[in-house]
């Protein structure tokens, strides 16, 4: 309840520290966000440098000597099929990122459009969209994804179709989240004042409400990326991914198929597993951090 009157009056303007400084100070307080971003940044650097250093062709079979444990020549070792695992990891991470971002962006975009329309205009449109979301939500996602993926012709399964399969049942959540936020925002007094100032309905949606929802949209996006990455991973582990590509899940699937552990090729499945833990972990930390950012009440005091 203690407020500090930052009213200026006779005195000069209080010097504000720069945006960058404030950002880093905030990161110091929001450890989840800081660590999540750091790990993600490291993974991105790894992928970028990896793709520059190693030829992508080395990620595919018969590129190198088979079954080599990690050594100077092959820092991550090679697998049964002669794939240089360093290259495979780099390419795999890149492809995972593509799926994640693509599916994430698509899901979030659908969420924004449907969520806004539903909340702002209300009426039968709202009931329709909300009804569809509520009907689709309890459907077991894993099951449907597996069924769809397995009925596809093997040649049609590419990273893009994977992204679509993942989005198919993931768009409901951002729609509902954004809808509920818009519903609340719509009742705020600054929207009434905007109406009094002659702003049109679309003006209110895009200029008044949307900017305030950016933290939520960012959180929804990261959430979607998380689900997409995770879904592509387990589908690939089940052998339903684009088998030729060195997706992380594929590597594990093929390692399992060849009995990698029993044969002593421990590096083969462990590396993609660690990579996946790092990706999902960093995304989860970012989500937690964004949650704190978007919800000032959760924000820890300095």
């Amino acid at each position: 309840m203690a407020t500090i009157a930052l009213a200026s009056g006779v005195e000069e303007r209080v010097q504000q520290p720069s945006q960058v400084t404030l950002f880093f100070r905030y990161l110091r307080r929001n450890k989840s966000l800081a660590i999540g971003l750091a790990v993600l940044l490291a993974l991105v650097l790894f992928t970028v440098i990896g793709l520059l250093v190693v030829s992508p062709k080395a990620a595919y079979p018969l590129a190198a000597m088979t079954k080599q444990p990690p050594s100077w020549k092959y820092p991550f070792g090679t697998d049964f099929f002669g794939r240089n695992l360093l290259a495979a990891m780099a390419v795999g991470l890149w492809q995972t990122a593509v799926i994640g971002v693509l599916a994430g962006a698509l899901g979030t975009l659908i969420g924004i459009i449907l969520g806004f329309i539903s909340a702002y205009f209300g009426g039968w449109l709202d009931n329709l969209i909300r009804g569809i979301c509520q009907v689709l939500t309890p459907i077991p996602v894993l099951l449907i994804q597996v069924v769809v993926a397995s009925t596809l012709d093997k040649r049609d399964v590419t990273i893009f179709t994977m992204a679509l399969i993942v989005v198919m049942l993931a768009w409901m959540w951002p729609t509902l989240v954004i809808r509920s936020q818009v519903l609340t925002m719509k009742e705020r007094q600054f929207v009434s004042v905007a109406k009094l100032s002659g702003v049109s309905d679309f003006g209110i949606i895009f200029k008044e409400i949307l900017p305030n929802l950016l933290p939520f949209i960012a959180a929804a996006f990261v959430g979607q990326v998380f689900s997409a990455v995770f879904a592509s991973f387990y589908l690939a582990v089940l052998g339903l991914g684009p088998l030729r590509e060195p997706l992380l899940g594929n590597i594990i699937w093929s390692a399992q198929g060849q009995g990698a552990f029993f044969n002593g090729w421990w590096w083969w499945p462990i590396e993609p597993a660690i990579a996946m833990i790092l990706i999902l972990g960093s995304l989860a930390l970012i989500i937690m951090g964004l949650d704190e950012l978007a919800n000032p009440r959760v924000r820890r005091s300095e």
């Binding site: 203690a2 407020t3 500090i4 009157a5 009213a7 009056g9 005091s301 300095e302």
Partner: protein
Amino acid sequence: MSSAVADARTDSTAAPPSEKAALAPVLRVQNLEVTYYTDLGRAKALDDVSFELRSGEKLGMVGESGSGKSTLALAMMRMIKPPGRIEGGRAIVGDTDLMSLDEDGMRHARLSKIAYIPQGAMNSLNPVTRIGAQMVDAVKSHLSRESRSAVEDRCAHALRSVDLDPGVFRMYAHELSGGMKQRVCIAIGILLQPQVIIADEPTSALDVVTQRQVMETIDRVQDEINAAVILIGHDMGLMAQFVDKVAVMYAGRLVEVATVREMFTDPKHPYSQALISSLPNLNNKGVFQGIPGLAPSLLRLPGGCAFHPRCPHGQEELQRSVRPEPVTLASGRIVTCHLYSGEAKHG
């Protein structure tokens, strides 16, 4: 109750506080200091605040937003959160200095020695649990040895004291009106019969009629348990109707403490004078008199006396460079102003 006290107050001579007041003060605040360490600098929210209160006495604390009145309440309750810090001073209730207690001791003191009804308390009632559960919850840790039915009896008694039906115990917050919810909060505050009750703007969101009901309730309740009450607010009208003493805060300092009659008839500090003359009354229709200027930012206080830029007497070098210290006048009043530094009570 009201008529007896009201008669005593309409007496033209300065009336002493209620006869039930004990001689030794029940609350002694001495040199309390609170500083906030923000990204933009240090702000002294409370600067050397001292005052005393006896049982049965009612003190009104007025000031603009940011003057420190709510900070004072939080400091006494030891509820100041970082980046704020209590830097010094004492708050003695009865025989115990609240500042010297450890976490457990303070937790025990809250509600049993000193109760705080925060601003907007009525909106902080849990919407999904019954009122009764919340009341019991508030005092559970204090009364761990009492049986469930004894605790419930206490709650029923408290509800009756605030003029609510004991059946409210089983109701939910949304079933009650604003005034009723506020009285529930008062009931929670008096459950353990504390010696000091701090009410921070208890009626700010209520209309006049409900406000009067709530204030009369606080009056009655205070009489019953003979507590000292600190009423924080900015409505001087409410102060005139309710309190015995008025303390005026400005930029973290206590600039004047006087009886309510003294404050309304003869305010000494220029800020108090400005506050009193800006009050609307039925005889000066159409005359609007505010206080020029703005309250200063605590981060950039003017030098010397913090009020000097807005003070009609504030042009001297003295006001600009030297801090005034609190001075006790002959009548027992305290003023923090250079105009009175020569009138200190001797002895």
